[in-house]
Amino acid sequence: MIDIARFKPKTVYVIFIASTPEKIWAALTAPEFSTAYFFGSAIEIEPKQGGAFVMRKPDGTIDVSGAVVEWSPPRRLAVTWGVRWLPQMRDLPDCLVSYDIEQAGDSVRLTMTEAHQWDVPDALLSGGRAGWPAILSSLKSLLETGKPLAIKMQPPREMLEALAALKR
């Protein structure tokens, strides 16, 4: 069992979605949704605490992998999160990504928290800080209109430079 208290939140994003907690839960955990809003990656997740978790790219390679830390549908999902698709990031300590889903009036508040167990430099957080708003906006658009947003993105240069510096 991992010690959640060691992880400090570094990035916290909140989005309001006109939907239901159950639909948001389904969108977070089913590949037919994730491929639409998560840069094409399909989620594979074992629906239980301790279960395996993978985001797989369209070419079959692993984008992200980890384990389920909390599986409480439709309120809270937490997974350890290791970025595998960038070779320079494979050896970094996993972070903890959690989604909290709460009814807020006739809308639903979805909170994404990225927490780290080490003193991660800001430049390394820039990847998530560029990616998450696009992912969450696209998820919202998918649930509200049936269409995701078409967003193309490259890893930020400052993150790649910081990774290169870590190697040295």
């Binding site: 990035t11 994003y13 909140v14 708003p133 696009a134 947003l149």
Partner: protein
């Protein structure tokens, strides 16, 4: 969206967002201390009020950790505004213009 523009229409609140951008996850006390250190006069009550308005507009997200309340910049509503008026085709051109502006301004410094 009205709440976002109203929240942004105040230089003190934009200053607070800049502070969180530079260092995410600060407590009210840390924000006040650092503002005072850099000679910006804002009372604790004023900072607290501005943070509440920013949180109401969903530009700031908070996390309770033990007895502390940590504040995080939430750029998602700004991203939604950008998505609404800046299409994916314009983005590359706008980035090029913004890089050009930065370079030209640097040369004049």
């Amino acid at each position: 969206m009205d709440a976002v523009f109203k929240a942004l229409a105040d230089s003190s609140r934009r200053e607070l967002l800049d502070r969180l951008r530079a260092e995410n996850g600060q407590t009210l006390g840390e924000l006040c201390e650092r503002l005072a250190t850099s000679g910006i006069g804002m009372s604790r009550q004023a900072v607290s009020k501005h943070l509440a308005i920013l949180e109401e507009a969903n530009l700031v997200a908070t996390v309770k950790r033990g007895r502390e309340k940590l504040h995080y910049l939430n750029p998602v509503p700004i991203h939604e505004i950008a998505e609404r008026w800046i299409g994916k085709f314009e983005e590359a051109r706008l980035q090029a213009l913004s890089a050009l502006k930065k370079n030209l301004e640097k040369r004049h410094e």
